[in-house]
């Protein structure tokens, strides 16, 4: 049933409830006609072809499908696509820019924070939400924040290191932006909250 979210045959048109959803995905406005039972994870993967969001357990256990929903980490296999109408979704595809990786991605690369890579998108988005709320987390705080994301390669040690690496990098970026006085409003804000966190 990979066509669930696509055009519905006319003979069923009377019976199948379809709703138009309009949402922002990775900063881009998207719209789709969906059946209410379509899960957000499936809209992203099969509808928008953003296959970086993985579906692992499909039973709300593993966190591989984690995306940010209005900035808050959620399991996209445990939300209906219709619930995203009017909301903002960030997937792993929205982390890097055309020219560079996000510091969290760099951290996972540098610290070998992945083996098979299946859990990695979810891990990185949960980590992003953590670092936005707490720019200088302790090891315990990182483990706590990622406790809803399972890694079957048992790579937790390096995943935690990767997040710490990213926290340092983001902190350093924020400081140098502040020092150069060249950053935009949002990075200046980041610098201020980072200084507050260290104080």
């Amino acid at each position: 049933m990979s066509t669930l979210y696509e055009e519905v045959p006319p003979s069923f048109a009377e019976d199948v409830p379809v709703r138009r959803v309009e949402l922002t995905v990775n900063g881009e406005r998207r719209a789709a006609d969906v059946e209410p039972r379509l899960l957000l994870a499936h809209l992203l993967r099969n509808g928008f072809r953003l296959t970086g969001t993985h579906t692992g357990c499909d039973t709300t256990n593993c966190g591989a499908c984690t995306v940010l929903y209005d900035g808050v980490p959620v399991k996209s296999c445990t939300m209906f696509a219709v619930q995203a109408d009017g909301h903002e979704v960030l997937t792993v595809e929205g982390l890097a820019t055309a020219s560079e990786l996000h510091p969290i991605q760099e951290g996972f690369k540098d610290e070998h924070g992945l083996q098979c890579g299946f859990c990695t998108p979810g891990m990185m988005l949960a980590a992003k939400a953590l670092l936005e709320e707490n720019p200088n987390p302790s090891e315990d705080e990182i483990r706590w924040a990622l406790s809803g994301n399972l890694c079957r390669c048992t790579g937790y040690q390096n995943i935690v290191k990767a997040v710490m690496w990213a926290a340092d990098k983001l902190g350093a970026n924020a400081e140098s932006d502040g020092a150069d006085d060249a950053g935009d409003a949002s990075s200046a804000e980041g610098a201020a909250s980072n200084a507050g966190g260290e104080g």
Partner: protein, 291 residues
């Protein structure tokens, strides 16, 4: 996996939602956090004809104390809101202790206390907490509001006395007769697993002794257990070690655990008693620190 087909409605007021429920006579389910409902629909354990999504209804995400001390938690207050609350720990120590151990951090960003209580899973954490606090659920239906004690709300596994056209709009904890203390301890094999055992103990201290006590047990019976005899053993005492020990033994007797892959019945009973003792000791320590 995806659920059976359903009609989706997203009302903007509670009254509208009640009218929708009444129109389909028992074939609708309310969607709040959806962290239990959606998995059950995906597994086809639940196949409602209509989903009434209340997430668009404003003004239900609060948790606050009335001037008289009555505590109210709205139907869209998420577990994470309680976990991160700056005011909750002083006002409601048992709720504050439970919030960080419900499910996992991702489920906590969506799931709600009111929804969890109404889901009536014997392994749900919040029903035990609310039972220990003599808490109630306020339901709104076509004829107005009614308040139902959580102990009376749940009439079996995944079953409540809520009518098909009623919506639980808030959870209410009555004002304390004295100073509140309490805790919630949970044994789980890993984060996000169902509780092997969960124990909620809530007391209200007045003049150095216990004016009221409540003990709720999670995961050790066919439904949430109100260990009222165990709680009664604490009332009138100064929460000394003997009194706590008596309550711990009565709580273990009130438990109706079954041996399964999470542990033997004897083991679970032992954990119930141990948790009552640990929470008792925690309360004593914090009383001494405060004195």
């Amino acid at each position: 996996m995806y659920p059976s087909r359903f009609r989706y409605e997203a009302p903007s007021t509670v009254a509208e939602a009640v009218a929708m429920l009444a129109a389909v006579d028992g074939e609708a389910k309310i969607l709040a956090g959806g962290q239990s409902l959606i998995p059950m629909m995906k597994l086809r354990f639940a196949a409602p004809a209509m989903i009434v999504d209340i997430n668009g209804i404003g003004g239900l995400d609060y948790h606050r104390a009335d001037p008289d001390g009555t505590y109210r938690i709205g139907a869209l207050c998420r577990h994470a809101d309680l976990e991160k609350s700056a005011t909750l720990a002083d006002a409601q120590p048992t709720i504050a202790a439970a919030a960080p151990v419900v499910a996992d951090p991702l489920v906590r960003t969506r799931g709600t206390l009111v929804g969890s209580v109404c889901h009536a899973d014997p392994q749900g954490d919040w029903a035990s907490v609310m039972v220990s606090l003599e808490g109630a659920i306020v339901a709104q239906g076509p004829n107005g509001h009614r308040s139902i004690q959580v102990a009376d709300l749940i009439d079996g596994p995944f079953q409540t006395v809520l009518a098909p056209d009623e919506i639980a709009v808030e959870a209410v904890v009555p004002a304390a007769r004295g100073v509140r203390a309490g805790g919630y301890l949970k044994l789980e094999r890993r984060v996000g697993d169902f509780a092997t055992v969960g124990v909620a103990v809530s007391v209200e201290m007045s003049g150095g002794s216990v004016a009221r006590a409540g003990i709720g047990l999670t995961g050790v019976g066919p439904a949430t257990i109100n260990a009222s005899d165990a709680a009664a053993a604490l009332v009138g005492t100064v929460l000394d070690a003997d009194a706590v020990d008596a309550a711990a033994q009565l709580a273990a007797e009130a438990a109706q655990p079954r041996s399964d892959h999470r542990g033997s019945a004897d083991y679970k009973r032992h954990v119930v008693a141990t948790f009552v003792r640990r929470i008792g000791a925690q309360i004593q320590r914090s009383e001494q620190e405060a004195a």
